[in-house]
Every structure is written in structure tokens, then in C-alpha cells.
């Protein structure tokens, strides 16, 4: 083996070690859904709570439980608002864990001085999104903090769902040959929020994709339940982070065909200008499904029949080598690694 091969092997050995949390302070990178976040989860939370299966939702006696906090700035953006996210984000964590969402608990942290109309608008958004997703908000809590302590409002929702008997999902169950599906075009939510912040003096017709994924999950379970290995909603860190997480959990490789990944032209354009890869940009209504080859065709057809998932596509497949690594066949005809980012995707200098 040449020296490059040996260097690669050494790197993979280092990467295969359990992550340790050694940082002295929390930085913004720990919240970005990349490597720093994973270090926090695998290095601090999982060992403390003796968790082995790190899923979006935990299961207790046929029920699934999940929770999520929403701290988006600005509160409203094209295609939705923090209220929509607070419902759909939690509903989606249940859905991709194979659980039918039943009920939500809602916890609000409000900033002193918040306009009542803004609060009213978000409460209405929450009610409408919950109705659309078919869940009830059944309990809640409110706290108010001093001006300057939060950006208007923070919302936490906790979701309860019933595990669907058609589902037998596990992040460690991927095997070579499995197909990778996405339920639609990627990168819309993150791009819409970035543009709404107005930092780039850039405008593009991009709206958040926030929506409940239960209809998509329901269709997948119905069409190819036994073939369905795992699902994830591709939120922070985007599709790339989901693929890395699953490749690591199953000890397999994943090869993505870049040309097959659906990306709206406006998203592709905005990301191009900022030097960001849409595969790392957050979605709030897109799932990635891993399906055994025999069920892949039915699964894709079923997905495409769901409103909002017309652009669903098969973007790659699971391979035996290289283990725990995601490779991209670029549209240009070359290959590269698609790794987790350390923190937020950063625009390039020049």
C-alpha cells in the first residue's frame, strides 16, 4: 500500500473512535448539527443517559416521544414562521421514527416587549399547522424573560406518537445495495431563512419547505414497509449530515450521484453565490429514506404521489466500502468525500 493509502487508513481509524467532548466552552458550532454537535451528543449526552440508539424519537411501550426547541431568527420568513416549524419539526421527528403523531405539548419563552400581535400570529400559525398535521396541542407552559434575553420568542414542543406496526426501522440496518431516496428538492428552508436575515442583500424566490412529513411516511410504510430500513428528516446540517450519520451508524459507505439530487434553480443560484453546498443546507419538510433494493421502485412511486413530494428522487446507494464514509460522484465526472461540517456552512472569502 502506498503512503497515501496508509494515511487514509490511519485517518479512518482515528475517525472510528468514539467522539469525546473536550471543548472548554460551548460555541455556535455546537448547535449547527455538524461534527461539533455530534461530539456533544456522543461525548456527553449519550453516555450520561446511557443511550445507545440515538434516534429522533425515543420509544416507550408502543409510544414514541420526542422534543425540539426552535430559536429561529427572524421569526417569519418566506414560506412559514417559527410557529409552523415548532409543529412540523416535532411532528417530523415522530414521523421519521415510524410513529403516527398524536399530540403536542407547547412551551413558550417570550421576550419582554414582544408585540401581542406577533404572539397572536404565531399561536394561530401553531394551531393551523397542528390542524394540518392532524395533531392536537394538549398542554403547555409560558415563561417571560427580560428584554434582550431571547429573540422575540423561543418555542419548545414535545410530541407524542404511536409507533406504526408497519415500521421496522433502525439506523444500524443499512446494507450494501440499499437505495437512498429524498422526498423532494433540498436546501429550501435554510436558504429562505438566510435570505430573510437580509445579510446578503440577495433576493431570490425561495420559500421554506416546512410541512408535516407524516403523509410521506404513511405512503412509504404502506408501499414498502418491510423494505424500509431507516428514515431521517434532513434538518440542520442538511441531507449530507443525515447520510454521514447513517453511514457511521451502519458501518457502510454511501455513494451519492450529485446530478440526481433535486435542487430548485433559485436555491442552487443562491448557494452558488454564497459558496455553500445545498446538501448541507437545512430542510424542514424533506426526508431521506433508505430502502432495500426490492422495495425501492414502489417506495419512490408512492412518495411521488404525495402532494409536495412530486420531485422525490433516488439519489444514491449504500455500498460496503469505504465504511462510514459518504462519497459523491460529481456531476463533472469525478469523485469526492462528503463529510460532516464542523459547524455552520461558511461562505467563502473569494
Amino acid at each position: 500500500m502506498n503512503t497515501e493509502g496508509r494515511a487514509l487508513e490511519l485517518i479512518e481509524r482515528v475517525r472510528a473512535k468514539p467522539l469525546r467532548f473536550r471543548d472548554e466552552r460551548i460555541t455556535m458550532a455546537h448547535g449547527a448539527g455538524g461534527k461539533a454537535t455530534q461530539t456533544l451528543i456522543e461525548g456527553l449526552f449519550a453516555p450520561a443517559f446511557k443511550l445507545t440508539d440515538l434516534a429522533d424519537a425515543g420509544a416507550v411501550d408502543g409510544l414514541a416521544l420526542t422534543t425540539d426547541s426552535f430559536v429561529v431568527k427572524p421569526l417569519r420568513f418566506a414560506g412559514g414562521s417559527i410557529g409552523d416549524l415548532a409543529v412540523n419539526g416535532t411532528v417530523n421527528d415522530l414521523a421519521v421514527a415510524g410513529a403516527r403523531p398524536l399530540a403536542l405539548a407547547l412551551s413558550l419563552v417570550l421576550e419582554e416587549g414582544l408585540a401581542a400581535d406577533e404572539l397572536r400570529a404565531e399561536v394561530e400559525a401553531i394551531a393551523a399547522a397542528a390542524a394540518a398535521a392532524g395533531v392536537d396541542v394538549i398542554t403547555g407552559d409560558t415563561k417571560v424573560v427580560e428584554r434582550g434575553k431571547c429573540d422575540g420568542m423561543y418555542i419548545t414542543t414535545t410530541g407524542l406518537g404511536r409507533s406504526d406496526p408497519r415500521a421496522s426501522l433502525s439506523p444500524g440496518s443499512l446494507s450494501p445495495g440499499d437505495r437512498v431516496l429524498v422526498s423532494g428538492a433540498v436546501g429550501e428552508h435554510g436558504t429562505a431563512v438566510m435570505l430573510a436575515r437580509g445579510e446578503f442583500e440577495l433576493d431570490a424566490p425561495v420559500a421554506s419547505d416546512t410541512r408535516s412529513l407524516w403523509p410521506a411516511v404513511d405512503a412509504l410504510l404502506e408501499a414498502s414497509g418491510p423494505s424500509l430500513r431507516a428514515m431521517r428528516d434532513a434538518t440542520r446540517g442538511g441531507v449530507a449530515s443525515v447520510l454521514n450519520e447513517l453511514a457511521r451508524a451502519s458501518g457502510v459507505g454511501i455513494v451519492v450521484r450529485e446530478a440526481a439530487v433535486p435542487v430548485a434553480p433559485a436555491v442552487a443560484g443562491a448557494c452558488e453565490i454564497l459558496g455553500i453546498d445545498p446538501m448541507y443546507v437545512a430542510n424542514e419538510g424533506k426526508l431521506v429514506a433508505f430502502v432495500a433494493p426490492t422495495g425501492a421502485e414502489e417506495a419512490l412511486a408512492a412518495l411521488r404521489a404525495v402532494p409536495g413530494c412530486e420531485q422525490a428522487a433516488e439519489i444514491g446507494e449504500v455500498t460496503s466500502e469505504p465504511q462510514a464514509l459518504v462519497l459523491v460522484e460529481t456531476a463533472f465526472g469525478g469523485r469526492r468525500v462528503m463529510d460532516l461540517l464542523v459547524g455552520d456552512p461558511l461562505p467563502r472569502i473569494c
Binding site: E272, G333, R335, R348, I349
Partner: protein
Amino acid sequence: MKFVDEFRDADLGQVLAGQILATVEPGRHYKVMEVCGGHTHTIYKYGVDDLLPENVELVHGPGCPVCVIPMGRVDDGIAVAKQPRVIFTCFGDMMRVPGGNGTLLEAKAEGADVRMVYSPLDALRIAKQNPDREVVFFAVGFETTAPSTALTLLRAQREELDNFFVFCNHVTIIPPLRALLESPDLRLDGFIGPGHVSTVIGARPFEFIPADYGKPVVISGFEPLDVLQSVHMVLRQLAAGRSEVENQYTRVVPYDGNLSALEVLAQVFELRPHFEWRGLGFISNSALKLSPRFADFDAELRYDIPGVRVADPKACQCGEVLKGVIKPWECKVFGTACTPERPIGTCMVSSEGACAAYYNFGRVAREREAV
């Protein structure tokens, strides 16, 4: 995307790959340096290496603006950022560069007001919005980004802002190239010249490379087809025994550069007699500082800058990587002690750094066509 996708056409890539294969001499090993970090990024992001024959080796050069900033300057930046009234602004990549004592991102977590901006004009806007604060912009980059800093300073002067300062770390591309060419351990056959720098300085300043050192230079664009075509142009020069400056990036680069940008640079900056480059040491006349007419905006005059030189960590071989003497994976700490999560050297930080580009994108066992 119209006007971009055309330069990423896989079929044309295959055609060029075939032409390259037909141009190389079997048995001869070619080493071509891409000077600019932007090219390094393109090469790894699109897997351009996969389209080259085995005996054509691309060597990554010193043209990554973040990679060449020495640790002492990062410490200086952090010291300014920690001043009580200061809002310290910088490009995103700079936030993760380790100094002798942590990064700007860590300084931010400890309470310094450090903000990421996308251009110096953003920093100027923050200064206008915060008249009771002092806003400092950490200016880095080659001639590509220096004009935007210069224009921002001209505007600040015109608008008589008294709370905007620039911590200037702009550098110039020609002196390090000359230093590289003088270094005895260098074995290169030709250069892919930096396209964006050349939009400002033009192609002419590179003429010393063929004239004094007999090596071809091709100024290149940043799309994968640009890079492939430029490699082909270098190889064609070598095959014909020519060495000259050619311009592949004619759609953007005028041979004599952008005269108004050069004028603005001359108005605002002057050369520093010496500047330390990460891993390359001190290089004469290789960096810019604010000219005396802009002294009121000069963070180095406004604040007490420690200015302590910090030696690179012993294990770090960024210098050799920046000179193209070793490949990223040949560095002793590459991928083990030095990773994008915990970089030791600057080359592991910026997405344009050779080490980060290789670690993030290139870490694939390659099977290429042997010639």
C-alpha cells in the same frame, strides 16, 4: 444555472481528459502547481484529479488567504477583539484559525463581540449603526479582496466615520511566488496562475516566471473545465518546449489587469517592508498596510497590538504544504492530531486550504489511468 453549468459539462471534461492523455509523454512525471486556493477547492470539489492521468500531479500552492496568516497576527486580532468597546468583524473562515491562544470563535464564546461579515462594507454598515462602538475589520486576502477594503476605506473617509478601523493583513501574490521559485527543494514543471488575483493585477506580473525560471504559467478560471483546460495548456507548452504566460481566463482577466482597482490600491495602501507568512517566514515587500493618509483608520495605530511572533507548532508542516514540497497527507499530524474540528495548522481551516480540501473532499483512494 446558465453561464456556470456550461463550465461544468461532464462530456467536455472527458474530451479534455482525452486531450491531456494524448499530450503527456509516457514515463514522464509532471508536477503542476495551482497557486490559488480557489483552484485547490475546485479540484477537490469536482474530483478534477480523477480525470487526470496518473503521471500528472497537481501541487497545491500558497494562494489561500487564510492559510498564510501567521499565528501571531491571529493573537493580535483577538487582543483587539477583546477591547471593551470593540465590535470585531471578520470573514467566517478566519473565526476558526488558531492563534497561539485560541481562536476568534472561542474569544466570542468568552464574551468578545466578534461578528462574521461577508464584505468590508458590512463592517462599515455596522460602524454606522453603532456610533458609540468601535468597529474593526480584520482584512485578509490577496489583491483579490484588497480593492474592496480600499474602497470601503475611501467611503469611510468620505463619510468622515471616526469609529471604523481596519486591521490590515492584505498580502500580495508575486513575492511569495518568487520566494517559492528560489527555494532549493522545489520541483515544479509549471503553474496554474491565480485567476481572481489576475483580474486585478493582470497577467503581465507573472512574466518573470517563464523569463527568469523557464516555467510555463497559465492564468486559469475556477470552474472545473477551466482548470482542466489550463492543465492541458501547461502540458502543451511543456510538450512544445515553450514557456510563457498564457491566459485561459480571458472572459474575466485583462492582460494588464484592472487599472482603476490598481489605482485605488495605490491610493489607500503602501507596501510593508516585511511581513511574516505562515510557514514561509518573513518575505520582503509582500504585504500591504494603510498609507499615512488613512492612519486614522489603522487599527494597528489605534490599539495596543501585542505584535508577538508565535512560532508555528513543531508538528505542523503547513510551510511545506504551502510550498508544495509535501502533500497534505504526508504531514505527520494530518488527519490525526490535526483535523478540521481541531486544526493545528491554517491549511486545515479554510475550505481553500490544501489540507482541509483534501480532508473534506479528497480522502478517496484513487485509481487513475497509468501512462
